[in-house]
Symmetry: C2
Subunit: 159 residues, 2 copies
């Protein structure tokens, strides 16, 4: 049986994640299972990016930002691949894209229904728990269209 990069098998790490640091564990298994889930080949680059994205808590990240994280983690991946991957992940529901400004788009690892504060001029996104916004009464979409999703962005500043 051929080794992967670490020499550890997937199932090993999956089954032993019982105690300590509960938030992040089984990074390899998690990344792999996510890719399998959506039918994307687990290539070296996608695995590495998936780990960077999904290990640890939710994050709001830009393409450049993720590319920088990859460099720091000594993962060799081109910016084009970072963009490809982010879009593939978004299209398959692993990520959500949040647009806050012209030429400023974040990818959100939290795909649950929730909204955002956008802190200017810092350019920082902060989650709003879904139950702290109540959106009663929504309008009927224009004829011939169907509602895809509702984005609420609350722009805030530091005075």
């Amino acid at each position: 049986m051929p080794d992967d990069q670490t020499g550890k098998t997937v199932t090993d790490r999956t089954l032993q994640a019982t105690d300590s640091t509960p938030v992040v564990q089984r990074p390899y298994a998690d990344a792999l299972s996510r890719l399998k889930q959506v039918g994307l080949r687990p290539t070296r680059q996608r695995m590495a990016l998936a780990k960077l994205l999904f290990d640890g808590g939710d994050q709001h990240i830009t393409a450049e930002n993720l590319h920088g994280m990859a460099r720091k983690a000594a993962v060799k991946v081109s910016l084009a691949t970072v963009y490809n991957t982010l879009h593939q992940f978004t299209d398959s529901g692993l990520l959500r894209e949040v647009v806050v400004g012209p030429g400023r788009s974040y990818f959100d690892t939290n795909t649950h229904d929730h909204h955002h504060f956008y802190v200017e001029p810092a350019g920082e996104l902060v989650d709003i728990p879904v139950d702290s916004v109540e959106l009663s009464r929504l309008p009927t979409p224009p004829d011939g269209t169907v509602m895809d999703r509702v984005d609420v962005i609350i722009r805030v500043t530091r005075p």
Copy 2:
């Protein structure tokens, strides 16, 4: 007394707007008064752009779009000035900027409190009257920040 382009004075047209085509009238006076209101010099370019923007009903327009309208109307103005002007108008409250996608930003002549449908992939913005969305319960902004405005964008598609 020197004529303006049309040979009509401002006050003339202001006072006679009583009947017919009620939506658009006194274009010159309107543009001028808006500029005065916010303390921007009524230059040839700003006046022309103000007319294009504020004559007629509310519109959602891009910079390129407005530049194109200016060309058609035989107004000589550079794209840089169009951008400058749109931002000055936005900063002084004459316009509102609506960001719908990375690298896609619209300027809205309707500055009242209202929301938007964004029709994809056409890239078309449609107003939602404010009273057809009810946003009960808003969250408290993060510490040290103050709420600037709430944007609701409902993304819809034609299936």
